[in-house]
Structure formats: C-alpha cells, structure tokens
Subunit: 432 residues, 2 copies
C-alpha cells in the first residue's frame, strides 16, 4: 500500500485533534483512502509547548518550510495571515495538496490562493474555514452544481448565537450574557472579533464567493455586531413572534445593470417558526435558498477542536483519495464576476419600535410618514398601557422590503414628530 506524507502546520485546538485522529484511526483511514496517511511532522513555534494530545516529541519541528517540501498533503491550521500564506504558496509551489481551516486568510486573500492552486493543478480544500464541522462548502459547490443559489443566511458565529440565545431565554442584558459566555469559555477575554461581527463577516465573504461563483473579500461586507442589542429589543421581538439572530447574509438582488450581490452581517429578526430560529446555544447553521431546490439548511457545531478536526479530516480523505486514484483537482470556486451591491441599494424588511404619547391621531401621523417615504407597512401592533393615564403607548411596525435610504429617511422624519417619545428600536427582518 502506498504512503502519503502529511505535514501539519500548527498544533493548537484543532491541530492537536487532527494529529490524534491521524494516529488513532490510521487503519480505518488507510482502508478508506487506499493509502497510508503518515504524519511526517508538525510545525510549531515552540517544540516544548504543552499540547492537548500526547504526541511523540520527534514529530515537532520549527522548520515549517522544510516540512512542507517533503509533503504530499499540507494541513495548515496556524491561523492568521503570515506565515500561513507564504507556507501555503510554498506547498503549492512544491506540488503538495493543501487543506486549510484559515478563514481570515481566505477572506483576505482566497481568490489569489485558489487561482495559484488551479494554475498549479493542486487541490486546495477549506471546508473547516466556515461553520466548523458543518459540511457546507461541498454541498454548495457540488450538490447544488445543477441549481442556482439566490440567497444564503448563516448563523456562523457561535459566541454571538450563545449570547443572543441566553438573552432570549433568560431576559439578560447583553453585558451579563457576554460575561456568562466568557465565564463558560464561549467568548474570549477580548470578544471584539465575535460580538462586532468581524468573524461572521469573514465567513460571509467566503460563503458569498462560493455561492455566487465570484470573488468577495472582507472589505465588501457590511458589518454590524450585537453589542447594541438590548434586553428590551429581545422582549419586544418575542412579543411580536420573532427571535433576534446575528446573520451573515449573501443575497442576489435585482438583475442586469442594477443587480448584484449584497453581503452583510447584522442582528436580524426572524419569525419563531423559521428553521434558523431553532438554532440554540453555540451551534451554527447555514440556510440556503436555491431556484429549484428551494429552502435548505445545514446545522452543526461551528467551532471546537474535535468538530473542526472532523471537517479537516473530511478534506484530507477526499484529497488523498484523489491523489491515489488520479483525476483532476476540483475546480476553484470563482468562475465569474458578480457586482457587489452597496448597502444603500439593498432592500430588506424592518422592525421599528416606537414609544408614543397616547392620543388620537398618532397612528395616522406615523403612517403618513411611512407613506411619504414610500415605505409600506406589513403589520402594525399597538400596545396601550392598561392604566390609561401617563405611561407611553407602544407602536411596533414590520415593513415590507424597502431600501436602507428610504428607511433612514422614514426614521428621521418619525423622530421629528411631536407625538413620538422615542424610537426604541430599528432592526432588519428576514424570513417573513
């Protein structure tokens, strides 16, 4: 039986689990691949750092370049831009197949790397880069190859989903739910990349590139996090039958010269019966709409060493089978160029919560502002305080699809009305 040399770059959370699986499942992997997978070495910064998994010391090296040069398959799990990028290019240059889980690098520089791999005729796989263990890239690329995707909505960040789910379940404020998530290890000490949506934006760019066969990078993603979502927003959403989720959305809007793809990350209201509403805790899910297939959803663990290692090993086995059996490398994702649609051209539904003085004619005045700005109301809900005196009444609107510009003008004009005490929330809505 043939042997394929595997070089592992990085031995953190995910890397150590990949090393464990390569060691413990060697027999079973060999029978599935048709060749032995030999872990030739593990490149790390410090050979003597403590590891999650007990591995022979002689596997470790600080000379990543040399390790790469002798490998058939290079698994890059270092994260970050450099030296990961240089080492992947080095591997491609030496004709090695590459498996990576590096979402930051792919979001910043994916198209260039896919291009180099295609040109060299080597395989570059990255299932682990988006939504951890969930097989999403392969189904989007291969299973839907005969269909056309029109929209992708993903819960792709477990930290923010945990926090929002906690707020939804317990009524906690954001700061308390975040502290809880930090205590339980779901959020990092500096939670910025998660709670401000940067991590979700990187995954959104990769999903959009793949779903629409084009190149998106992080700078083209509109990004709002969840730090301004309040317990009051969540309570009001609940009352109206919604749940608030942080979604990465990639959507084809319009046709021809006016059309394009919008990629955006923001807190979003979803109806409680929507499949994404049932994604609890730190789980991830990606909801896909395709012309013929209709609605699809892929659900699973989005992070964690062992689940992510499963996605890495899926890529490794497929890559190795191809090396054993021959045949062409899978084609890269980008085959065309679809224009990016800027946020002010995007249309979406909105939820608007208002506190108003309880007097006749308020609703008529507000409705007039919506109409003047061309924003059409889908549902309205009025709550009048029980005691009838003093306390403010609540008005809650869900609009039909409107542009950001029209919505902003509407909210601005509503704020100017005498009868309005305050605009309590403005949130985007999907799935209605």
């Amino acid at each position: 039986m043939k042997t394929l040399k595997v070089a592992l770059l990085g031995c953190g959370n995910v890397g150590s689990q990949v090393a464990r699986i390569l060691r413990d499942d060697a027999e079973s992997l060999a029978s599935r691949v048709g060749a032995r997978l030999e872990l030739a070495g593990i490149a790390v910064r410090s050979v003597d750092a403590p590891r999650d998994v007990d591995l022979p010391r002689e596997l470790f090296t600080t000379d990543a370049e040399k390790l790469v040069e002798g490998a058939d398959i290079v698994i890059e799990l270092m994260g970050g831009l450099e030296p990961a990028r240089s080492l992947i290019l080095h591997a491609i240059g030496h004709g090695a197949a590459v498996v990576t889980g590096n979402k930051a690098l792919l979001a910043a520089d994916g198209p260039a790397l896919y291009g180099k791999a295609d040109a060299a005729g080597v395989q570059l796989s990255y299932e682990a880069a988006v939504a951890g263990a969930i097989p999403i890239l392969l189904p989007i690329r291969d299973s839907l190859a005969g269909d056309r995707i029109t929209k992708v909505m993903g819960i792709v960040n477990g930290t923010t989903n945990y926090i929002l789910d906690e707020m939804d379940t317990t009524g906690a404020q954001f700061a308390d739910a975040l502290a809880d998530a930090q205590r339980l290890g779901y959020a990092e000490a500096d939670p910025t990349a998660d709670v401000e949506g940067h991590d979700a934006a990187a995954k959104g760019a990769i999903l959009a590139s793949l779903a629409f066969h084009t190149d998106f990078d992080l700078n083209q993603v509109w990004c709002e996090g969840i730090s301004s979502v309040t317990a009051e927003d969540i309570a009001a959403a609940q009352e109206a039958g919604f749940v608030i989720k942080l979604l990465a959305i990639a959507e084809k809007i319009g046709d021809g010269a006016d059309g394009g793809v919008s990629v955006r990350v923001h807190p979003t209201l979803l109806p409680r019966r929507h499949p994404l509403a049932a994604v609890h805790g730190a789980f991830n899910a990606v909801f896909v709409e395709a012309e013929n297939a209709g609605e699809l959803m892929f659900y699973g663990q989005g992070a964690g060493g062992t689940p992510t290692a499963s996605a890495v090993m899926g890529d490794v086995v497929r890559t190795a089978r191809r090396l054993v059996l021959g045949g062409p490398a899978a084609p890269g994702s980008a085959t065309g160029r679809v224009p990016e649609l800027p946020m002010d051209k995007v249309t979406t539904s909105y939820y608007i919560g208002l506190e108003v003085s309880d007097q006749p004619g308020v609703l008529a005045a507000v409705a007039r502002v919506f109409a003047d700005n061309g924003v059409s109301i889908e549902t309205m809900r009025q709550t009048v305080p029980a005691d009838g005196g003093g306390a403010a009444a609540q008005l809650r609107f869900v609009t039909h699809r409107a542009t950001e510009a029209a919505l902003a003008a509407t909210v601005e004009a509503i704020r100017g009305l005498d009868v309005i005490t305050s605009v309590t929330s403005v949130l985007r809505v999907e799935g209605v």
Copy 2:
C-alpha cells in the same frame, strides 16, 4: 466544446422538471460542466400523454433500450422495480453513467447495482432518492469521510410530517389531519405507503447502508407507522415538553459480537428544543451524529418535482464533469459488513402514560414494577384532577434507555396492577 448525450427515462413530476432545466439552463450548465448536455430523448410509456412542461414531441420515444444505448448519461426517473432495474443494468453494460432517484429500487436492490457499476467503472449517483432536494448522501459519503457516523435520525417522509405537524398545531385527530393532507395534495388517495412508514423505511435502508458502509435492505428495517397516534398522545407529549415525529433511525449499538446496527422507523417523542422538532409541514431533515463532528442536521424539501430535480441535476453536473475531466468513478458505499441488530436488542428511552386511581401508594406500586424489570425512570410527572374526586389521575414516565423486551414486560406487569385504569400511551423517545 464536447457534447454529452443525456437520456431521460420517465417524464413525470420530476422528469419533466429535469427536462425543463436541461433546456432552460443549457448555457449555464455547459459552462459549469465544460461540455454541452444534449437531451437525446425521453423514454415514456405513451408519447402523447399530457406533460407538465412543454417539450418537443420528437424527443419522446417508447424505445427506452435504444435510447440508453446511445447515451453518455442515463437519468432514470421512472420509479418502481421494473423496467427501471433492467434499463439501469443495460446502461451500465453500455458504459453509460447513471443518475437515479429510485428509492424503491435502491432499497430493494441497491448493493447489487452499486457492485455492477463499480465493476464496470461507471458512475452511479442517487442523491435524489433520499430526502429530495436535501444534499445528504454526498455529505455523508464525502464530507464525513474522515469521521465515523454513530447515528442517523431522519424525518424523511413529508406526508407524515405534515400530518403530525397539523395534529400538533391544531389538536386534530389523525383521520382529520390525513383528510386535510389529502385535500391539499400532501397525501395520496391510498396513503398506506406513507402513513404506515414503508416509504420512510426504504429511505432508512439507503441512509443506513451509506452511513455504516454496509448493505441494508428494506426487510431489515423495523417499521411502525403513525396511524395509531392519537390527538391525546400528542397533547400529553406537548404537556411534557415533547413533539411526536415519525423518524427513520439507523444507529450503531454495542461493540464486538453483541454490537450491530439497528434500522427502524417509528413515531418518536423529541424534546421541543431538538433541531428535528423545528421541522414543520412537509419538510424533511436528517440529523447525524458523528464521533468527531458531533451533531449535524440537513434540512430541506423532501419531495416535489422541482426540488427533486435540483438533486438530480447536481448529480448530472458532477457526473458530467467527471466524464469531461477524467478520473475514477466515486467508490460505492458498501465497504464492510456490519451485523443488523434485531429490534429486541435495541435500547431506547420510552414515554409511558397511565391513568391511575387517585389513591395513596399508586406511584410506589408502579415504580416497583419498573425496578423489578430493570427499567430506570428518568422523569415522572403526576397530574391530579383539580376537583379531587372521581376523575382519574395521570402518571407520565420517561425512562432511561431500556430494551424492548424489558419495556414490554414492564408494561405488561403495569397493566396487571389493580390501581391502573389504563395505559394511555407507550412511545419511544430520542434526543433526551
């Protein structure tokens, strides 16, 4: 650009949509495949029967054998065992790649067909045979290639899910919900294959074969339908925080000589927060547990011409790419033999509802029966009638995992107790 000749066998619900996509998306498909897909002909029983899609009369033929002989790719969408089986074998014999959505044939005879295709080195794909548009076979086979699946639970029949969802939402009895489903076209005039679980059992056999790399056929699947599920069962389940779903379950239980794979279809209680509980209406979903990946779920439309055509076209594009680029056919699913585990060796949790006379010592007597039969109680819930006099009290138990044999003995002994008015329901539970 090269041209690949495509033969379509059958032009019903799915076939007519496949023909439409081949016609309308010809340009886009050609650019994705790297070759033109030419619809060479459509084999049907009657050339002049009415069709859902307007197609040129000269495409139709009643000579399926001849059509197959000139084809590069044969799409079999006739359904049923014959002549589908003979035509697929004829295609394999002529070196044509085959795409089929025929679950009845694969459940009855899949392993033999996979073997013949492997031996001939031709591709045989069947994504559309299970769960319609949901890409489930490819992820199980390829994405989880580096992992080990331990359990698969699927809502794989839209008719029964629609009926159960309707009963859960409206409180309707089975017969009324079925009549409703028939009126809306979700159930056939003779609903036996759906409501008695036969359709789900066929899909369960295919899923089990794929997930456990072995050969299962329909006769090895334990099968109970939903016709005996009552509105009272559903109400009691709701009160205890559960929903009732018809699940096809394939599960590895035990190790070594005592171990094996159980494949079964039966109504099952699931906690309301379980991802499968959020699958509403006629939608399908497959929940997968793997050693490293943990919990995964795949959700989408399980039936319907257009969604199923999407799955067929995914297979067609992948098959065609392979024909254009060269490379080996995908390996068949079965690589080993895992023993089937008979139902009496399966352990699962149970929900048991009892009506009891409201007198001291009843709970102790019932608990004693559980203990004597080695069945351990996880939760108990007692409802005493508000008026205190006359009406029966309710006892509801969820057990830890126990064998069918132990459970049957327990229920038998409970029925014999003086204090028991009736055993109102005995249902299996998953996801607790």
